[in-house]
């Protein structure tokens, strides 16, 4: 820290001096060289801080996060090395008029996705109606046939969702991915907020920002609302301190006032879940589980799991414990099912979809497949069952041999492939320590949606993830991504 302070000496001038937005990209704060109208005053106040102030604030904030242990564990390091999640103090602002449709769109989307899951693990009407091809759903690895017919306590399956959105060149929000299993990152939303309030009190005040610190209270209410018992004992289940998101598990337990348990703390007897306490066994009614479902119960899923609780799924099926999120949700955020979410909204809600998504070609459809095979050089082709960069063809950067290989694979197994045009991400002014200046960097947005018995609620804010590497589109923290506080302005 001492070193970074000496480095920044000599960094002077207004903050946004010489800031240049990227060509043909939507910039979150600037338009044609000037702040966007709703943000004028806030940008002026930030600008007046100057580069030296910002560099100092950034160093203080990073040090404070380290001291407080707001860190993630680096996998593959047996000594348990922890790092702070890189972040940029400069906030991303969202005007009230932009937020309102986004909020409504997310609620609509979550209602439809919840109904889809109920249907898929129930009567499967949408498959019978031919709206979604049955083989896309029933053939997906994330579909769990053994869960069919099980009704979750409280009727909720997607208690916590994190939906990844981008903004295209016109500034239109588009859903990139629905995360309906165990979405993470919300603790950084709350922690980043504490930091930006501390560092920019005047700008924060001027922006009239909606608060985010009541998230844990809302989450606790959500969990209680689905409890099968009157006097609820809810717990947070973590794989343990070696997990990269352990800070968040601990944070959520602490801010909700719940016990943080690991699998060996729990056991199942007569289809009820208990935890081992210093006063003997204690009944558990709701589990906010941050363990992947494949590891939840070795009796049902992976038999080699040491992170699991034998018999947990029996207790769940008997209605004696609520699991948040419900197991089996993966089938609704599967790449193969994503292209059909607009159809779901129309089918279940009889409404027009509010939120756009990225146009996607489904290779199972003849017309789509013909187009994809014609335009392999322009498209991004993704295998639906494989995560990350595996099984992916980046058309514009591909070789003829790679395209030929994918052509053969698509023809052989069309169900497994979808294709999209490369998406442009919007940019946001970001503090770059090495150059001592503010530069545009690509961002996305992950808002969090809680669904209780009473329906979905959207946290007014979210995790803005930023690709800190120049020219990069990759916002993942494992590959040079960081985060920003997201200021949603009050109407």
């Amino acid at each position: 820290m001492r070193q970074s302070q000496s480095q920044i000496q000599g960094v002077v001038g207004p903050l946004f001096e010489a800031y240049e937005a990227l060509p043909s990209t939507y910039d979150e704060l600037f338009e044609a060289g000037a702040p966007r109208p709703p943000f004028t005053r806030v940008v002026e106040l930030l600008d007046a801080l100057g580069k030296d102030q910002l560099a100092r604030a950034q160093a203080i904030a990073e040090n404070a996060l380290l001291q407080q242990g707001v860190t993630f564990s680096v996998y593959g390091d047996s000594r348990g090395v922890e790092k702070i999640f890189p972040f940029c103090l400069l906030p991303r602002l969202i005007a009230a008029a932009d937020w309102a449709p986004l909020e409504r769109g997310l609620q609509q989307r979550l209602r439809a996705l919840g109904l889809f899951l109920d249907d898929i693990y129930g009567d499967q009407r949408i498959l019978a109606a031919g709206i979604v091809p049955a083989e896309m759903v029933l053939g997906a690895q994330s579909y769990r046939p053994m869960l069919r017919g099980i009704k979750p306590p409280g009727g909720v399956r997607i208690h916590i969702a994190g939906v990844d959105l981008i903004r295209d060149t016109a500034g239109t929000w588009r859903v990139l991915e629905d995360n309906l299993r165990t979405p993470s990152g919300v603790s950084y939303v709350v922690e980043n907020r504490l930091m930006s309030k501390r560092m920019f009190p005047r700008a924060f005040d001027a922006a009239r920002v909606q608060r985010v610190d009541h998230y844990p209270t809302r989450l606790a209410e959500t969990l209680r609302s689905v409890s099968p018992a009157a006097d609820t004992n809810a717990v947070v289940l973590t794989p343990g301190p070696y997990n990269s998101a352990y800070f968040e598990h601990s944070f959520l337990a602490r801010t909700m006032g719940l016990e943080l348990v690991q699998a060996p703390d729990l056991f199942v007897e007569r289809d009820c879940v208990f935890c081992k306490t210093t006063r003997g066994p204690k009944r558990v009614d709701v589990i906010y589980r941050r363990t992947d479902e494949a590891f939840l119960d070795p009796e049902v899923f992976r038999a080699d799991s040491v992170l699991g609780v034998p018999g947990l799924m029996r207790a769940y099926a008997a209605g004696n414990v609520a699991l948040a999120n419900a197991p089996g949700n993966g089938v609704a955020d599967d790449k193969a099912v994503y292209p059909f979410v607009h159809d779901m909204i129309k089918f279940y809600l009889d409404e027009e979809p509010i939120l756009e998504q990225v146009p996607t070609y489904v290779c199972l459809r003849d017309a789509d497949r013909a187009y994809v095979l014609e335009h392999l050089g322009e498209l991004v082709v993704k295998a639906v069952d494989e995560a990350g960069g595996y099984g992916m063809l980046m058309g514009p950067q591909s070789t003829q041999a790679q395209r030929d290989e994918f052509r053969a694979r698509i023809i052989a197994e069309p169900r497994r492939y979808i294709a999209q045009h490369r998406v442009e991400l919007s940019s946001c002014p970001t503090w770059i320590g090495e150059s001592g200046s503010v530069e545009p960097r690509r961002v996305d947005l992950r808002p969090y949606i809680l669904t209780s018995r009473n329906g979905p609620w959207v946290l007014p804010g979210g995790l803005t993830r930023v690709a800190l590497v120049k020219g990069s589109y990759v916002v993942n923290s494992s590959q040079g991504g960081g985060s920003k506080d997201t200021w949603v302005m009050r109407p």
Binding site: Q67, Q68, G80, P241, A253, R254, D265, K276, T277, T278
Partner: protein, 311 residues
């Protein structure tokens, strides 16, 4: 509370206390080494013996090493393979704290986390300003112990942390007194030297001023032993720590709550408490201290079985 969390609270308390007492013992021994006019081995060997790591030390070093103060200190501060070293204790405290972060107060957690972040960067301070280095460890651990009491709910988690602190403290006091009582016997008659040694021991237990107040300045083996074993007003005496530990355990598991687990631990601690309180004669110090250390060991094992889920 969750049995595993109780276990980690208990060990968190033990590690913090152990780090504090190791730093204190090293600082007072280093100070004594300057003017004790004793063979260096008799100054430094007890440090290793008290820590219970004699065998580990002997594995890596020859006999001459017992008198090498720098070597002994390096072993007791930086050697991660030594379970009683400062790095091991601080990492143990911090690991447990991180695992039970949700039950600690932010202030107490930050104190321990700062110590963990500070330690690897403190090599220079260790080299150039040894006394200040030990002082920093002691201040931060004492700060953490104080913050636990002033910022946490006074309920089960704090009871388990404090139970760990107190039982660790009993063992430390008993072992230090035992080792020194044995070693100092050789100097009976040399009043000046003997006085210096007893004062060092008392300083190592933060008890020199308290002792002088209680004994009107008379320093001798019987007086010091009685003080460290039986003085109920001294917070590091065996009688004080055992009795306080008993009270803590009564909060956790009330004597009348026969249906709750923990009955055997409570009974055994209660017996030890009475046994110490009834001792009139502190002459057979070694036998007495051996009994205390063995009992504490057995009580910790019982706590593990009854309250910590047999982990």
């Amino acid at each position: 509370m969750i049995a595993r969390v109780a276990d980690m609270c208990f060990w968190f308390g033990r590690y913090v206390e152990r780090a504090e007492s190791t730093a204190r013992m090293l600082a007072s021994t280093a100070s004594m080494a300057l003017d004790a006019e004793l063979p260096a081995e008799q100054v430094w060997r007890p440090v290793i013996v008290v820590s219970g790591e004699e065998a580990a030390f002997r594995e890596h070093h020859n006999d001459a090493a017992w008198g090498d103060g720098e070597l002994v200190q390096r072993f007791m501060v930086w050697d991660a393979s030594n379970g009683a070293s400062l790095v091991s204790s601080i990492e143990g405290a911090r690991w447990n704290a991180r695992s039970i972060r949700e039950v600690l107060s932010l202030e107490a957690w930050e104190a321990i986390n700062e110590l963990h972040l500070w330690l690897p960067a403190a090599q220079g301070q260790y080299r150039d300003h040894r006394e200040g280095f030990y002082q920093q460890v002691r201040r931060t651990t004492q700060l953490a112990l104080g913050l636990l009491r002033s910022t946490m709910l006074h309920d089960e988690p704090l009871d388990f942390i404090w139970l760990g602190v107190l039982l660790e403290r009993v063992s430390q006091t008993a072992r230090m007194l035992d080792v020194h009582h044995h070693a100092f016997g050789a100097f009976a008659g040399n009043e000046l030297l003997e006085n210096g040694l007893w004062l060092t021991l008392l300083r190592g237990l933060s008890g020199s001023e308290a002792y002088v107040k209680k004994s009107a300045g008379r320093i001798g083996p019987e007086g010091v032993a009685r003080f460290l074993i039986a003085e109920t007003a001294f917070p590091r005496s065996i009688a004080y720590c055992v009795h306080s530990a008993y009270e803590r355990l009564c909060h956790i598991r009330p004597p009348e709550a026969h249906s709750l687990p923990g009955g055997m631990s409570l009974e055994r601690l209660s017996v030890l408490d009475r046994w110490i309180a009834e001792r009139q004669n502190h002459e057979r110090v070694h036998e007495l201290l051996t009994h205390v250390v063995d009992e504490i060991h057995a009580i910790c094992a019982l706590l593990g079985q009854e309250l910590f889920g047999g982990l």
